[in-house]
Subunit: 333 residues, 2 copies
């Protein structure tokens, strides 16, 4: 069953337009099983397809240096909207909109939202095209709908793992949020960023559920991690080598602040932040992660040591309070 | 307990000579716990130390592009001898010789070598300085000793995961090999490359043991993998993005050969070849790995699909026989 629109005609057109000879295909984990089909599509135009087999979690992680090293003349990046202002290698973004019908899931979600009359809408890039019809369904149920647009992302109502500006911009106007999409991560992000009840309408499972309890649990875990990091003697700072996640200067500022607080600080650079990484550095008691904040929060249970986002670090440095950090967003850069 | 010589005085001298301001420290997995101490050593000279936290298995894997991306002016690479002819970023190699006494382990090994009167010696870079005294011990036991030097590696008797030329050069002159060092991987490589009985003298455990049974087991596994790959309809070819492991052109030649054989071929590029990688590509039945051959053989049990080295591929393509491939080396590039 085909679940996403891969815009195959546009891919063919772009390949012809650029007369691409060697093409790097990059897909996020969930879409990687489509790599085979996409490679064959590229091959039919006469170009050589190379599939990037490294993990990919966002448009911050376009395989530009890989493409340069491989002498590639076009990157086809699937599953995310353009984010980097300029790419060193021509890059086509195929957003991979879902073609799954969301109506059933939204109907289930409405039964969990009966208490509320003003609903904010949120979704990922895969489902932005459904928001108009979702809005209609909710209005038909007698509720008011607000879709935020803080003008930082490509589409109104869109959220990203590191950007919840659209939902934050309307949090004070609504009583609850409805998130359309699969997986809990983004929905929990909405709940944490807005402190509002949040219900997921999951079109893949054709179900709906609240993420409020889980969001509360994560808040408690994050507070514990902050305390543990505040008490750590040796702290590691992580710099990512991914093009849209490399924040060396911010890392060095954090180093200075930590040293003023009397901490022993080590700076690490790496491509993939994985749990095994920590095994090599037994003296480090806690980490500050300047890369994708999602790693700190979403994968927290897999890491043996606390790993704070840069916003959470501000609670330790005194630049912000816990309450303000929750308001500003635990995840956001 | 200090187990290795980190040449701390030389590190300080190199840092001063180059007036390095930002230094990338790279260590293989087993030495990573020393990263903290090395960072503090660098820091004392006034430079900023950044620790590479990605996996590192050889001098083929110097973090050059990482260093460029981080604006680093010196890489200190531990645990391996220089291998790349030219590095784009100044690189100091600290071989990290072991300072563990090997005498006890060699005595144990001699009791497993009583049947043989001509012994070949082999070791890794960490123990090359012990070979002269090991030779004396064996000579005192009334045996002849041969240490090979095929002039491809930095030291006589040295073996690397992808280069067993020194032991192959003397295989016909000796009855058995004594390998000095920890871990089974290199010793199994010696046994497979020479088809000679091979005993490990492990100075860390102060023990000795034969690896012959395990080498036979691996040979059988490799033969099975070759059969499975020969029967596969869809084959993936892996290109590494590590500077000393990137063999794009060889990968493309293999692609052509496989296509002539009627296979469906997909080409993949990646930095770390890890078992999870295969989950994304369910249609691929077998892989040809043009990167570090050690990954194919050492980690075979962790991968769900067969993954051949380029030498093993030659058995399928008809360029070589299984017997010749064993002689040429399963692991070698």
């Amino acid at each position: 069953m085909k679940l996403f629109d891969f815009e195959e005609e546009r891919i063919k057109q772009e390949l012809t337009k650029l007369s691409a000879k060697r093409v790097l295909i990059q897909l996020p984990e969930g879409l990687k099983p489509e790599a085979h089909r996409m490679a064959k599509l590229v091959e039919k135009t006469g170009a050589l397809p190379i599939i990037s087999a490294d993990p990919c979690y966002g448009a911050c992680d376009v395989a530009t240096s890989e493409a340069e090293e491989l002498g590639v003349d076009l990157i086809i990046h699937f599953g995310h909207a353009k984010m980097l202002k300029h790419e060193k290698v021509p890059t086509v973004y195929i957003e991979a909109r879902s073609i799954v019908n969301v109506d059933g899931a939204v109907t289930h979600a409405l039964s969990l939202l009966t208490k509320y009359s003003k609903i904010g809408l949120a979704t990922t890039i895969q489902h932005v095209q459904t928001l108009d019809t979702v809005r209609e369904s909710i209005v038909r149920a007698g509720k008011a709908v607000v879709i935020g647009d803080a003008r930082r992302l490509n589409y109104p109502g869109q959220v990203m793992g590191c950007d919840f500006s659209n939902v934050k911009s309307i949090a004070s106007e609504v009583e609850a949020f409805l998130f359309v999409g699969g997986g809990k991560f983004h929905a929990i992000g909405v709940a944490l960023a807005t402190s509002k009840p949040t219900v997921v309408a999951d079109p893949y499972g054709n179900t709906a559920y609240s993420v409020d309890e889980e969001a509360q649990k994560i808040l408690k875990q994050r507070w514990t991690s902050i305390q543990e990091t505040a008490n750590a003697k040796t702290v590691g700072i992580l710099i990512s080598l991914k093009p849209g996640q490399k924040r060396s200067e911010e890392a060095l500022k954090i180093k200075e602040t930590l040293e003023k607080m009397g901490k022993n600080v080590l700076v690490f650079a790496l491509r993939e932040i994985q749990p095994e990484m920590m095994l090599g550095f037994p003296t480090v008691e806690a980490y500050i992660n300047t890369a994708c904040p999602r790693i700190s929060v979403d994968d927290a249970s897999k890491f043996r040591k606390p790993m704070l986002t840069t916003n959470e670090f501000k609670v330790i440095s005194g630049e912000s309070t816990w309450e303000n950090t929750i308001k500003e967003g635990l995840f956001e850069n």
